[in-house]
Amino acid sequence: MRWGMVIDLKRCIGCYGCQLACKAEHGTPPGVYYARVLKQEEGQYPTVRQLFLPVLCNHCEDPPCVDACPTGASFKWEEDGIVDIDHDLCVGCRACMMACPYTNRYFNDQPQHYFAQGMTPYEQTRTVRHQQNVVMKCNFCRDRVRAGKPPACVANCPTIARYFGDLDDPLSEVSVLIKERGGFTLLPEVGTGPAVYYLPP
């Protein structure tokens, strides 16, 4: 089995719900975004359009970050294809950040908090699990998925623009959507085989 995600760009309204849900789920510090939304405006008034591109780790079939990691901290789960980080092994060399063509890895290099007064009790509780001076990234909410729940960004998308399922199953919702609606991946030319697909806007 290989977990994958499909994001329908026609449905995405750029509300940042996925980004916030991810932050709430993982308690990531400022400057660390497992999921984020790229936004751009095109054209001139009155023919202007806004473009949204939600991005996250692509959990590639052939992940260059795993190959580049000198310690084996970046690895791929054999049973479900999720690319993950063992933070106890990470030395913080950031080779994986240079290897990732999708720039979806972040270095957590200092204690950070959102408010000038210091860490809120919520931040203290949520960030205690994160190690400092290591690289962090999305893991498809593997704990949730193993408990039978969808990733937080999928569960909380208000327009149901995100779908999650088994890419190896040709009858799964994600496989059918990719096939029927011409799903595409980002930067196919780099040959990493992403597990995150997009449906055209």
Partner: protein, 308 residues
């Protein structure tokens, strides 16, 4: 708090850019990685020429530079206390291979050098221990000369570094750095023989010409590659935020000044002049590496996805 806030705001600005610059290697503590790569490359080259010229001070300098390079690498790491894990992934990771190469080099040199320097050392130069050291250091040297370019080429997120010429260029840097380090060593400790300085300058000229050709080819390749991120990197290097360091450090200090000293014979090639040429050359190599690392920008995502 102010520093954290500045860094956070800069990251947000970077994430909004079409071409996000890489800042992890070369900025802040990241400069230690550049220093580490630079020192280790010079060390490997100096060891090679030290052996070729049978010049013990050159070998000692190579050992010291490699040790300093290792420390600089440790200073760069986020979790240096876990450094020994870096030997685990030799099968695919060039950083891991470099780590093993450096360990071999330091261990080998530590076995090989003492009997060269101290007559009363427990083993002599012809002993099995010293020969094993020579072999280990030689293997480590080959890895150190070769691995660095591949570290950058394997960085698929930064197209400017992904050129197939990059590994060759880094080999040439190591050789040029080694020749330059030996020029400085000769000025400090005297030449191994009367003709050594002249031969070394000749080697330095040939390698410098090779570095220039390779660098121009790499820039040309980046410009015609059709990759917008590569072109952006070249722009940053030649006409952007790194232009001053590139022209001042790489071209003027690293190339024009030593070339003038060698080519126009403004003065006879005294030992002092050799030292200046060597120092300028190594400083220029540092700037060359520093600027090309800092010029790295990530592939843009949004434009190309939306163009579909």
């Amino acid at each position: 708090m102010a520093e954290i806030s500045v860094k956070y705001e800069r990251l947000i600005q970077d994430l909004r850019r079409d071409f996000r610059p890489q800042r992890e290697w070369g900025e802040g503590r990241g400069v230690f990685l550049v220093i580490g790569h630079f020192l280790v490359g010079v060390a490997a080259g100096a060891w090679l020429f030290g052996l070729a010229f049978a010049y013990t001070p050159g070998l000692v300098i190579a050992f010291l530079l490699a040790g300093a390079g290792g420390l600089a690498h440790l200073a760069f790491l986020g979790r240096p206390e876990r450094f020994w894990h870096m030997a685990r992934h030799v099968r695919t990771s060039w950083i891991s291979r470099g780590f093993v190469g450096l360990a071999l080099f330091l261990a080998g040199a530590a076995l090989y050098l003492p009997p060269l320097l101290l007559a009363a050392w427990p083993w002599d130069q012809a002993s099995a221990l010293a020969q094993a050291g020579w072999l280990l250091a030689g293997a480590g040297m080959v890895v150190l000369i070769g691995y660095m370019g591949f570290v950058y080429t394997a960085s698929k997120g930064i197209p400017f570094w992904s050129s197939p010429l990059h590994p060759v260029l880094y080999v040439a840097y190591a050789l040029r750095g080694g020749a330059a380090a030996l020029l400085v060593a000769i000025a400090l400790f005297g030449p191994p023989d009367a003709a050594a300085a002249g031969r070394l300058i000749g080697i330095w000229i040939i390698i410098t010409a090779l570095v220039m050709v390779l660098f121009v080819l790499e820039i040309y390749g980046a410009l015609i590659s059709g990759n917008p991120a590569s072109r952006r990197s070249v722009r940053e290097l030649l006409a952007g935020r790194l232009a001053a360091a590139f022209y001042g450090g790489t071209l003027v200090i690293g190339l024009i000044v030593p070339a003038m000293l060698v080519g126009t014979r403004l003065a006879p090639l005294s030992l002092g002049l050799l030292a200046i040429i060597g120092l300028c050359s190594t400083l220029g190599d540092f700037f060359m590496k520093y600027t090309s690392i800092r010029a790295g920008v990530y592939l843009p995502l949004l434009h190309r996805a939306m163009a579909r």
